[in-house]
Amino acid sequence: MNMIAENFTYLYHGFGIASDPFNILLMAIGILLGVIIGVLPGLGGANGVAILLPLTFSMSPTSAIILLTCIYWGALFGGAITSVLFNIPGEPWSVATTFDGHPMARSGRAGEALTAAFTSSFIGAFFAIVMITLIAPLVAQFALQFGPAEKFAVYFLAFASFVGMSKEAPAKTIVSMMIGFALAAVGLDMVTGQLRLTFGITELLNGFDFLIAVIGLFGIGEILLTMEEGLEFRGKAAKIDPKVVWKTWKTLPKFWATSLRSCVIGCWMGITPAGATPASFMAYGIAKRVSKNGKNFGNGEIEGVVAPETAAHAAGTAAMLPMLALGVPGSPTAAVLLGGLLIWGLQPGPMLFVEQAEFVWGLIASMYLGNIVGLILVLTTVPLFASILRIPFSIIAPVILVICAIGAYTVNNNVFDVLMMMVFGVLGYLLKKTNYPLAPLVLAIVLGDSAEEAFRQSLLGSGGSIAVFWSNPLVSSIMGLGLVAGLWPLIAMGFSKLRGSSAQPA
């Protein structure tokens, strides 16, 4: 109790530091830069922060970290923009946002989708910050419980709660997911240090980055699909309504349950080393199963935007906690921020909260303010971004192609990736037209590698015994949850049968 009171005193001081006019200005600059970074696919939060890191060396550590974390928030906000408008997620955790966000944009509701995405991001992040404020040191300890087996269990849970959701033929869903796993396996095998599936081709050393696949499958594939409809299709779609923000806000409160659930999923996944991507997929998968409108998910349901965005941002924010308290980054961007902290002579770890209390609480205070500043800034841009869709397709299409090519190149600074992007584009068109679901493929590319790695690390530790996944209460309960989630369609069917048969006699 005493500790919490002490924390609030620090936080109060923190607000004093963070609300310094210079720092507020830095927040605004950071958010804007972040949004630009988020909008350019491939550039991504981690790269963006890494690139701007050296620019901050001449600032005080607190100002520098405020600028950098605001770039991070901005990139988180910005990632949703391209997902909604062009079906191109800029970050792994924006993929689930495209499922309903882009259909909304196609039916002329881009403004609503963007407002819902931004607002949900804010709510998710805010929930996570409050959690950090209240129980930071306690929660940090929880992350230490996660060894390879626990990590694998979390990935398993993420997969299990997401699969089985598609309407397509099961054999097609499986092929799609397995292609994802296979692509994720290309390159260096971390556990044995061997190259695999590269066939001596140097360009394949790096494997297939998820972003290249996604830019191609979703972005280029979408352009090709749109072309079928002819050039006139776009243009007229979006109507610009400056009041769209208010109108959307009125509809959001009824999704409070989804929101709260996604916040909890996000915070939990953010603290465990699994991070934002599984959080967003899990939240989407669960919302789809639980929601009344679940059947309509994928056709432009606003709840399908709220769920993943809230979870991703709660996770993205919560991931800051293990970084500060343990020195273990919960996301690539956090890893770069961590490097920044070290350069300023701040060593994240158990002692940071004690030795550098002022810095830590200044940072936490800046999270509150930064997110509020961010929300206001990005909401004002909603009509602007929504109006991009009014540009005729024959102008916007080549520009999107150029952006995709630049995005694909910047992921690894490799022109080969630009060629791969085009291959994925054609593949995406073909698979979509033949009713293969793309989401499982993308999920498998993003998580396949990490899941396999965690699985094999666990087995190394246990000497090859599978029992390691049931060896303690934590890992057993996550695995159990995963099994329930995976088998849920069967369980649900069983229930409805039971109910059906008991209803008949009555």
């Binding site: 397995m178 292609i179 396996a185 079928e228 102008i395 150029v402 630049i406 910047t410 085009m422």
Partner: protein, 166 residues
């Protein structure tokens, strides 16, 4: 999803494309199996070898592709994949895009981008030259300034940029 909207045009049959796609995924599966066998796919003393997972992934791809071939053959033989007129539209984008991508390694990203936008706007969009030129040069210039100047991210460049000393 959109395939049968347009009613009675002629075009390649959905069935053919379905079977073709399934054969393609099967080929992919076989390549994966081959690659896994190269690095060893057994279960050694300390857990699975490098090729263990990819091997079974490849196997599952092949099996499910087989199912998809069968399912594909059972599809409605009349349904078409897309009308030829639609495919022509798609090719109008695809061919310039492929040429664009093929030019990037040799000429960098800027010059092909200018050409791509010009071709699109003038040939497909029927815009006038002044607007087309403005967009075609404006967009790459914007990326040059933001990426190379502000964010210090070098993009691929070709002989023309080298001549200009950029």
């Amino acid at each position: 999803m959109e395939q049968s909207h347009h009613g009675a045009g002629s075009g390649p049959k959905q069935r053919v494309v379905e079977v073709g796609t399934a054969l393609l995924t099967m080929l992919f599966g076989l390549i994966v199996i081959y690659g896994s066998v190269l690095v060893g796919y057994g279960w050694s003393s300390d857990g699975p070898q490098a090729g263990f997972f990819p091997f079974y992934v490849g196997l599952i791809i092949c099996l499910c592709s087989l199912i998809n071939v069968v399912l594909g053959l059972r599809e409605d033989p009349e349904a078409i994949f897309a009308e030829y007129s639609q495919l022509r539209q798609v090719l109008k984008v695809l061919i310039p895009a492929c040429i664009y991508v093929a030019l990037v390694p040799e000429f960098g990203i800027y010059v092909p981008s200018v050409a791509l936008i010009l071709v699109f706007m003038i040939w497909l969009g029927k815009y006038r030259w002044p607007l087309s030129l403005a967009v075609a040069f404006g967009v790459p210039a914007f990326f040059y300034i933001t990426l190379e100047r502000w964010f210090l991210i070098p993009l691929p460049k070709g002989p023309i940029e080298a001549m200009l000393g950029l």
